[in-house]
Amino acid sequence: MTTNMETNAAIRCAELTRYYGEVKALDHLNLEVPKGSVFGFLGRNGAGKTTTMRLLTGLANPTHGSAWIDGIETTNGNPAAGYVYGYLPQQPVFYNWMRTWEYLDYVGRLFQMPTARRKQRIAEVLEQVDLVSATKRRIGGFSGGMKQRLGIAQAILHEPKVLLLDEPTSALDPAGRYEVLDWIRSLNGDITVFLSSHILGDIERICDQVAILHEGKLVKVGERDAILAEYSTNAVELQVDPGAEALLSQFAARLQNQPWVESVNLEPRQVRIMISDTEAGKQQLLLLVSAAQLPLARLEWVRPSLEEVFLELSE
């Protein structure tokens, strides 16, 4: 097995496997995370997300297989691999007796950053995670959210090429969550972000690549939009103004006779139309609506949410 690999993948897993007794926590994971992407890693509890993170960071040992981050093998016990990535565990913990700057200074020293650069980066990351006011405070008195932000700060301090974030927003309040998501989105391809989250809305909002893990196996991987398109339901929802229920009912009956319509589901002020021929539907639906003179409140081509795709794949 080679230690260094020239590759376009920021993260590469080859047959990465971890068994705990009879339990297959991770089963022959083959995965390539493109450089510069924001990669969402989804899965139910126990699907193997954290195991993958721990194997990638060398905190756990694979039963079989190897993994590389930025071309450097991380599964062979080489501590020098730690230079290329930053990692935020699910529940970051710190030395409670340390002050914020002191902890970051310690981390900077572990990455052998020169003094001037270290000081500059500490100031920058504290600004980025909004902890400037807590620079000299003892970490022991921090709230869960502050610890999560400090966890992000220590992960990005040495400007890694790859960032591994295990549930980075789980302990943050809504405002903090949006700030962190905005910051990840602002990275603009400079850093590869590999993040796992239970909050599927977050993943859908910021990730351009998605992988879904189920019972230790990779069940789906690819570009977010391509996956959503693949699982598109070809459904249209149409809603009318109050008082137009009768018109809507007549319209629904007319739709049933169209060859491009698969089914129609009528509700008091809304109809959901399943279309078998998307092209024909796109051409004729609006014409029919216009002809029926419906007082239209909303017309939407329904796209499945990542949550729906996730639930379908992980059932």
């Binding site: 230690t3 721990r54 960071t57 060398g58 905190l59 756990a60 040992n61 062979n76 016990g77 080489n78 501590p79 020098a80 691999a81 730690g82 230079y83 990692y87 565990p89 529940q91 970051p92 913990v93 710190f94 030395y95 007796w97 310690y106 981390v107 020293r109 572990l110 990455f111 052998q112 220590q154």
Partner: protein, 520 residues
Amino acid sequence: MHAFFYTITISLCIIIPVILAILVRRRFRVSWLLFGVGSFTFIGSQVVHIPLNNLLSKIGILPAGTDTGWMIAQTAIVLGLTAGICEELARVVGYLVLKRARKAEDGLMLGIGHGGIEAMIIIGVLSGSAIAQLFYLRGVDLTSLNFTPELMVQIQTQLDTFNQPAIIGLLPLAERLMAMTLHVILSLMVLYAFQKGKRIWVLWAILYHAAVDGIAVSLSINSVPVLMIELLFFASLLPGIIWVVKTFGKQLKANLQPRLPIEWRLFGVSLRKELVQLWRTKMVLVIVGVFALFGMASPLLAYFMPEIFGSIEGAEMFKNLIPEPSTKDAMDQYLKNLSQFGFLIAIMVGMGSVASEKEKGLTEMILHKPLPRWAFITSKFTAQTLVYIAAFLIAEILAYIYILVLFEPISFGLFTTINVLLLLWLLCFTAITVLGSTVSRSIGAAAGISLAGSVVLMLSTQIPNYGSLSPQALMGWAGLLSSEMSFSLPTSNFSALGAAVVLIIMCLIWAVGLFEQQEL
């Protein structure tokens, strides 16, 4: 000059195996656990080997004398075979335990561990006191001592080495290096049996071991000059070395890894953090405070003991029974107080050093960063060592001042020697506690393991025939120094000193080896 070369030999026999292991580790990323298991395969083999030889001697298979040629041959064959069978089978058990250790470099590390601990024990521990006693006997008329004629001849033969050039003191080192080479060859032969699934290679290893040992035994009995024995020993290794190069050369070359980056700076970073942590969590104050208190109070307690008894109601009559306090009483108090409380402090400070960080998840936060695990463990031990050195220094100065004021003056050099022995004794408990803390995942379990290990160490002086080799015997040596008020070779115990150093090194190697295998 002889003393200088013997000191070099003893020191290098302890240090060289560790340096060799570091080199193998750096080039092949082999776990330290292999070194640890290798050391156990040697110790385990001797647990069987020594009683087995005694048994064979009792039932007459191992001849009592070496009067005839056949008896010499029988002795050489039996001793060679028992060494081969016990040690090779111990290696087999080692490989069975280490199911994943099937690479050539694994065999290399196991062999260094096996031969390394043998060198450490034979030269670093057992020879220390023997050489010191020889230096003492050098200027003594042997006939004035109550020795048997046989013992007298043996001692005189050993004393004759002092008439040879001083560099002869390096010969045991050369012999141990060759023995280590033999153990590497044998470990690779047994590994080959596992790699190829051919048990016959275990038999070849036993026979090769028996042949090399047997030749050495017969030459030794036949009073062949030592230098010639060593040369023939080296010659007997050549076929093994050629076999290793031929069989494993390509494997080793293919498995070479890029050198690990310099990690000492990271050790420094970790040590700095540990020292700050000990300071911030008030551990330094507690340790230094307790040591300073007992350093100061020991002479005071000894001095005022009669007054203390006189002031206790109902115990006034004991006041006159207590002899007038002396410097020896002050020193005894000092030894007693620092040993009792120092040992408890060592366990209390060390028990959570690794276990609590694992329990809290701090190791997960830190050890995915470039900090190597060996640096994480050893920095903890080093930080505690530095604090204990400071604590002993303060205790020594305070006790010395009070002894000067209240009693007869004593030699500062002698008092420092006593403190160094105490420090080394305490560091054994520190190392055991760091190992206990590494093995366990909770502070409670770490405390239990450390306490159990410490009790075993304290009781080890009671082992018949071997008690004086225990690091705990350092306390006895320190006690003799304080009662005699002078340093003398007959009362010295360099074996206990060597044993303490070896115990500390092995505890740390085991701690690092086990920690490398743990998932955080």
